[in-house]
Symmetry: C2
Subunit: 159 residues, 2 copies
Amino acid sequence: MSATADDGRPGFELPLLLLAGFRALIDELHAELARQGHPHVRPAYGFAMQAIGPGGATASEVGRRLGVSKQAAGKTVDRLEELGYAERVDDPTDGRRKLVRLTGRGVDALDRSAVIFDGLRARWAAELGPGRLADLEDSLRTMAPAGLGVDAVSWLAGG
Amino acid sequence: MSATADDGRPGFELPLLLLAGFRALIDELHAELARQGHPHVRPAYGFAMQAIGPGGATASEVGRRLGVSKQAAGKTVDRLEELGYAERVDDPTDGRRKLVRLTGRGVDALDRSAVIFDGLRARWAAELGPGRLADLEDSLRTMAPAGLGVDAVSWLAGG
DNA sequence: CTAAAATGGGCAACATGGTTGTCGAAATAG
DNA sequence: CTATTTCGACAACCATGTTGCCCATTTTAG
């Protein structure tokens, strides 16, 4: 609470604002998803389904894309399987591999998420004006270029 | 991946950008904190120390401020105690209460965090230009007004 | 003044989502 | 053919939450 940047705004607010924005979007996504028949989707599952993708992937591959161990990815796939969002099928060409594929329900959840996110972004655009929103995104792209990091959850709580 | 907002940008990038920005700041904070003698501070501890504040607080109070149960807050205080960032003292005026107070080390970590955050914000200001950064903050303040929610970690991973 | 309610702290059991380490089976490199 | 790598799984463990319960103490109602 002592030093301040050139223009007098304290620095600790910036991360809080970014988090609050992220959180608002994710909360609204999941509230809407729940309303549309997917009450059990948690942020981690969404990330995992995104990592599985339309073409499917092995658990190890999912782990790599998510930046977590294959064991952790395997547990998440277990969850997705229990909930009916993914299924494991043996790979006939490789006896070790088990391909994880999204079920119809999984694809539905992903499709609905995309639509809901678009709707939320449209709301931001309406409230801020499209130019300011595009500026915001551009600024963030400049400062946090990695972007595609779907490996988002673990590093907060994880060890 | 189907619908798009008016200007053609997909909505799912916005939360990813916000998260990447938050994460970049927090990662750099903790890397710098580690360099400055606080290698064991995790995001959750920073939030908790913030909640304890200079005047101290009870574990229940910390839980309320953080939006978690008093038991969870108690466990976090246990951690902070182990690491030497906080201490519990009996309240002589109320036999039930145990006041949690930051140690000198805890205050040091908090002070350094403030300075580091200011430095990070200055870097963003230098790279984006002060006006664009202020715009970004204003936009986020508009869309995510709650802001002060220090209860940030649990809702991601927690139950 | 006393009995009831509220509060604070802590314990236990459990859920989630990570981590290592290890192992066996299958594929691949030499 | 053998050595190495890879995949999937199991087990033990850690960190951080949750409820439910209990006890001591303080506050409040009557």
